[in-house]
Amino acid sequence: MTTLESQAGRIPSPREITTEPRFSDKVFRGVVTAGGLSSLVILGLIAIFLGYQGFEILAKEGISFITTSEWVVEVDSFGAITNTTFGLAAMLVGTILCAIIAVVIAVPISVSAAIFLSFYAPNSLKKVLVSVIDLMAAFPSILFGFWGLFVLMPSAEYWAKLINKYLGFIPIFEVEPRIFTRSPFIAGVVLAIMIIPIVTSISREVFSQTPLDRIQAAYALGATRWNVIRTVALPYARGGIVGGSMLGLGRAMGETVAVYTVLNIVYQINWNVLFGAGGNVASLILLKFGEAQPYEIKALMAAGLVLFMLTLLVNFLADQVITRSGTKGR
């Protein structure tokens, strides 16, 4: 009599249950992880290569590369370089000044537009307006640059004169001599228009996440729409708005073409925002690149590294602000 036990080998032994992925999955996970790490690799390579090219300049100038403001390349009659001084301070000041002007102008406009879209606009209108804002985010920067130069400049110059007339007693609004065109203020306005779509869409996203029960509770307590916005929506969205504004700040700091077109690039520290002289690091690179000798290009690489680190820092802070406000139980 044959029992099942005697038929050795015919009963399959129990399969080992394991969470070990199969070979194909191992390959798949490896490839995808490698792809995912590409952003790390690329960012790392950017830092390494710019640092490698700019190292000589950074080592020679040291801290004065970002604290002094002189960009001099002296050549003798044979074209050999005799003396160089590279200091980025004027352009760093210009970068931060333009970006801050842009944020100061863009944030109130963007936040009120986002509030309008989230709480006031009827649905059909909202769809159209959101599309327009998304479209605006896709406009290339060269478009903003030449529009700013040819169309916005006359109006913005007039606004600058108004500000100077009524607020001229504040030191930063002084203009002497009276040159109002191509000032950091106008560049700031153009940058503001460029970052408005980013800040608006991030703010709108945060507003749309406001818990509905709290909004309804506020209405049930007799709040008006403005009360709801001020006491429920704005406190809830504060972190997201700050984070979105900092993303906009980072974008404004790195902008090249629009600033180069609109701004009169002069190598001096200029705190008078309405006066027609300024610059930023990115536009300096574009300006000097054309006629630079290999040695000066190294300095431009170092300037690029400083700009890269600056935008990375701003983006990191923005990320921290957004996540921290996202995890806190408001």
Binding site: P21, R22, S24, D25, F28, R29, V31, V32, T33, A34, G35, G36, L37, S38, S39, L40, L43, L50, Y52, Q53, I109, S110, V111, S112, A113, F116, L117, F119, Y120, A121, V132, L135, A138, F139, P140, I142, L143, F146, W147, V151, L152, S155, L162, I196, P197, T224, R225, W226, N227, G254, T256, V257, A282, I285, L286, M301, G304, T311, F316, D319
Partner: protein, 349 residues
């Protein structure tokens, strides 16, 4: 005896009543009048004055209306509704102005040969009808295609890592993608210059320009693709695994096909992001005036370079050419955008 029929007329109490509409209209009219009056009487001048007075008047009139109909709190509510409307208007106005300017000024630069000639035989002050955009359009097409071939796989793999594998690195990688989208375009250009041009190729070409564009394109594709893949219901993944599929088979045969149109949207948005990118193009491609079909060699023209050069030449004709170039570029961006919208709306149905 006939019963009198009482039909209740449906009303829509949430809609503004005719009286309220009339008041609204009167307030707007009053504000327009106020802006004209004040500009005529006082020293205020210019478009800005009309705009400012109109909104101040509208806000104040609404405040008064609110206070009169209910109380102070209602008045404040009305006032701030106008402030928010003002913010929205200030977002829309520049967009409208940009679109109008480009269409209005670019129109004059359009001519029959625009898309079939290149600029190799035209000088800056030649009449507008000579020369054209052919080299720029071909160049842009080649630059974008090469950038697309490199960045699409990397972008989609990044998105797949963020949605399918969800390892320990998800948070940092999401941040790095975000940080990468904030890399200034000129830094991307400098990077390729130092890493590729000075070490390997020693010359400008379309290919190195594409590599710089790749850096700018990857984050856009990765983030859009991540959003799309997140929308794919988990049921599909579970079903795939329950049928005995490995993760690889599930992703390749279930998840990615389900997200196909969304991934195409991601691709289109990536193209729209880089098609007008100027700074790295200026550093890397050399910008020729003749048609160049070989991206690995020689200067390559492109739309942004053409626009940049035309405006910098500064003659009347070349500035008109620049606006025409901007018009073509804008139409390109617009159609890419509408295509992405169309595919996106089809997906959600």
């Amino acid at each position: 005896m006939s019963e009198s029929k009482v039909s209740v007329k449906p009303s829509r109490p949430w809609r503004p009543s005719p009286k309220e509409r009339a008041i609204n209209f009167a307030l707007i009219l009053g504000s327009v009048l106020a802006s004209y009056l004040l500009v005529a009487v006082t020293e205020l001048k210019g478009k800005l004055a009309y705009f400012a007075v109109f909104f101040v008047a509208l806000a104040v009139l609404n405040l008064v209306r609110g206070v009169l109909t209910r109380d102070w709190m209602n008045g404040r509510d009305q006032f701030f509704s106008i402030v928010m409307l003002l913010g929205m208007t200030m977002v829309i106005l520049p967009t409208a102005s940009i679109l109008y300017t480009v269409f209005d000024r670019g129109r004059k630069g359009l001519h029959a040969g625009l898309l079939t000639n290149d600029m190799s035989l035209a000088t800056p002050s030649d009449p507008i009808t000579s020369g054209g955009l052919l080299h720029a359009i071909i160049g842009t097409f080649l630059l974008v295609s090469v950038a697309l071939v490199v960045s699409l796989p990397i972008g989609v793999l990044t998105a797949l890592y963020l949605t399918e594998i969800k390892g320990r690195l998800t948070r940092p990688i999401r941040f790095l993608v975000q940080a990468m989208s904030g890399v200034p375009s000129i830094v991307a250009g400098l990077f390729i210059l130092s890493a590729v041009v000075y070490t390997v190729t020693k010359s400008y070409s379309g290919l190195v320009g594409s590599l710089a564009l790749t850096i700018l394109m990857i984050p856009t594709i990765a983030r859009t693709a991540e959003e799309v893949l997140n929308l794919i219901p988990n049921d599909l993944r579970e079903a795939g695994v329950a049928l005995g599929g490995t993760q690889w088979r599930t992703v390749a045969m279930v998840v990615v096909p389900a997200a196909k149109s969304g991934l195409i949207t991601a691709l289109i948005l990536g193209v729209a992001r880089i098609v007008g990118e100027t700074a790295p193009i200026l550093l890397l491609t050399g910008g020729g005036d003749a048609v160049n079909l070989n991206p690995t060699q020689g200067a390559m023209g492109s739309l942004p370079f053409y626009i940049w050069k035309s405006f910098l030449l500064g003659t009347e004709e070349s500035i008109t050419r620049g606006w025409a170039g901007l018009l073509v570029l804008l139409v390109l961006v617009l159609s890419l955008f509408l295509l992405a919208r169309f595919l996106g709306s089809r997906r959600t149905k």
